[in-house]
């Protein structure tokens, strides 16, 4: 018996770029914009849009500060984001076991 339901897949995470962002952040305590950009090979504009979506869903928190007089944003997964990511992985595993 398998209880996989594709409708249960989290639409926020179910996008390659957002999945990549979540994967980077799950493996680091926190990461800045440049680090995420380099790891997932995204453009500034594209990355900003998807980071905002994740932030709006409260899956990640952002800390903005100035470093060497330049704006510097540090992103971190929230508890809600970690839970959503784990649930997403569980759903994928269920689908594979189907």
């Amino acid at each position: 018996m398998n209880d996989f339901d594709y409708q249960q897949l989290d639409e926020i995470i179910h996008s390659r770029i957002r999945l990549a962002i979540m994967s980077v952040l799950i493996s680091t305590d926190e990461a800045d914009f440049n680090f995420i950009k380099e790891k997932i090979n995204a453009t500034d504009g594209n990355l900003s849009v998807h980071l905002k979506k994740l932030e709006d869903a409260e899956y990640l928190s952002v800390k903005k500060e100035f470093l060497d007089k330049k704006p510097h944003s540090i992103y971190k997964l929230t508890k809600k984001g970690k839970t959503a990511f784990e649930k997403y992985i569980e759903q994928l595993e269920k689908l594979i076991k189907k």
Binding site: Y6, L9, H14, R16, L19, A20, S23, V24, I26, S27, T28, D29, E30, A31, D32, N34, F35, K37, E38, K39, I40, E65, L67, H72, I89, L92, E93, L95, I96, K98
Partner: protein, 198 residues
């Protein structure tokens, strides 16, 4: 979504997580700073002995070592703000932090208590350095960095047989060749990559 897509997603997530965990953004400044600091300490002690300027040479280290720790802690705080803390990064910090504390205790407490003879300090430090280089090289999957450990261990063996002030000169050379130069290589690589990623 089908099973194939799900499997691809899992592989994709695993790949990104593995790559992120392995990432280390390190400037190599600590290597250079500590290397120069110990080089100065060894050379100064060698010169003081040679010119018959006698005093308790531990004071050279009482001045230099806290400067090194102060710099390392400042650098660590700055690095933490600037760059993400990754799994491998934490391992390397732990390895060098533990090695540093060990060397400081042997150098100060060991000599103060009289348990460690002043002649044994340099070879012991070399052997600890070898261990730290080996662990770091394995963690960052860098053969050249891992192989530096053999230079340190060989240096340690040599120093175990050199029971004279020449040992200070050998240690000073080891610091320049196998600490400062690797630090400069890391720093140049860091500068290129950091500028490119901006």
């Amino acid at each position: 979504m089908d099973e194939k897509n799900a499997l691809e997603d899992i592989q994709f997530i695993r790949k990104i997580i593995n790559e992120s965990k392995r990432s280390v953004i390190y400037s190599g400044k600590d290597y250079i700073f500590w290397g120069i600091l110990v080089f100065i300490g060894m050379l100064a002690t060698y010169i003081f002995v040679n010119v018959h300027f006698y005093f308790n040479y531990i004071w050279v280290w009482v001045v230099l070592i806290p400067i090194g720790w102060g710099y390392s802690l400042y650098n660590r705080a700055r690095q933490k703000v600037k760059y993400p803390s990754t799994f491998v990064g934490k391992i390397i910090s732990a390895v060098w932090g533990a090695a540093g504390v060990g060397m400081t205790l042997i150098g100060f407490v060991g000599t103060y208590s009289g348990t460690v003879s002043p002649n044994s300090i340099a070879p012991i430090l070399c052997i600890i350095m070898g261990g730290a280089y080996f662990a770091t090289g394995v963690a960052v999957e860098s053969k050249w960095f891992r192989n530096l450990s053999f230079a340190w261990w060989i240096g340690g063996i040599v120093l175990l047989f050199v029971v004279s002030i020449t040992g200070l000169l050998i240690m000073a050379f080891l610091m320049l060749a196998f600490q400062v130069i690797p630090g400069l290589i890391i720093y140049n690589k860091f500068k290129k990559e950091f500028v490119l990623s901006k």
